[in-house]
């Protein structure tokens, strides 16, 4: 089933980073993700959205609900953070803890990966970067 797009947030300033994670948390609360999972997702979004403002200047975050018929049936939130920025020259390096080209701690991408259930990144120099995250609601 194709994901239902719920929201698109343009990322151009650090205010938009806050907006993106707040909207995602609202959506996560609607899907009854646990409070901890809401926080993990919001934190991951903060990391990938900040990468947009740091490296690409502008981009967007798309939030959608994903459903699997199962069994077991489950729902989750898919986050797509994409930009048409410079891309990442060495993805393996960028996914390593502690590596940074932007003056930070180098926790952004590898950290975000640890906070969600699914993580995918596509990037090409001078084309841009798309990071996709999925957080599933836990079976209850």
């Amino acid at each position: 089933m194709p994901p239902d797009l719920e929201e698109r947030i343009a990322i151009e300033s650090d205010n938009d980073v806050v907006t993106a994670r707040q909207r995602a948390r609202e959506l996560a609360a609607r899907l009854e993700l646990t409070s901890t999972d809401q926080t993990l997702l919001a934190t991951a979004i903060s990391e990938v959205a900040r990468n947009i403002t740091t490296y690409a200047t502008r981009g967007e975050v798309l939030l959608s609900i994903v459903r699997e018929a199962g069994p077991p049936a489950r729902e989750g939130i898919r986050v797509v953070a994409r930009d048409r920025g410079p891309g990442i020259a060495d993805l393996d390096l960028a996914m390593q803890d502690g590596y940074t080209s932007g003056g930070g701690l180098g926790l952004g991408l590898p950290g975000a990966r640890r906070l969600v259930d699914e993580f995918d990144i596509e990037t090409a120099p001078s084309v841009g970067t798309t990071v996709t995250l999925v957080k599933w609601s836990r079976a209850r």
């Binding site: 409070s35 926080t39 993990l40 934190t43 903060s46 990391e47 701690l105 590898p110 950290g111």
Partner: protein, 123 residues
Amino acid sequence: MAVPILKQGPFLIATIQAALTDTDVLQLQDDVMTQVTRHRSRGIIVDVTALDVMDSFVSRSLRGIAMMTRLRGAQTVIDGIQPEVAFAMVQLGMNFEDVQTALDLEEGLALLQTQEGPGNGAT
């Protein structure tokens, strides 16, 4: 949204009241350093009870406050990190080991007062 900083005796108390943008966090760093210098403060408490996310930028900046104030001879305590936030910080891989933390504002103040010691100028 600026973070209010209150002076209480030899200490400063900065209470974060809403989600912080990166600009707000950098402003807080500046403000704390200015006030520590102006008041010759011995300790700073940053209350983060209201923060529902502490990503790598916020964490690094708060740690920066602790390092910078220490160089000025003042101790910083971060209090009120929410359980979910603590969970996320560990998963993220944040190293906060060299930063003093406390459960809440009351315990943060108690910690600073202990370090200040009796008859150590806290009038």
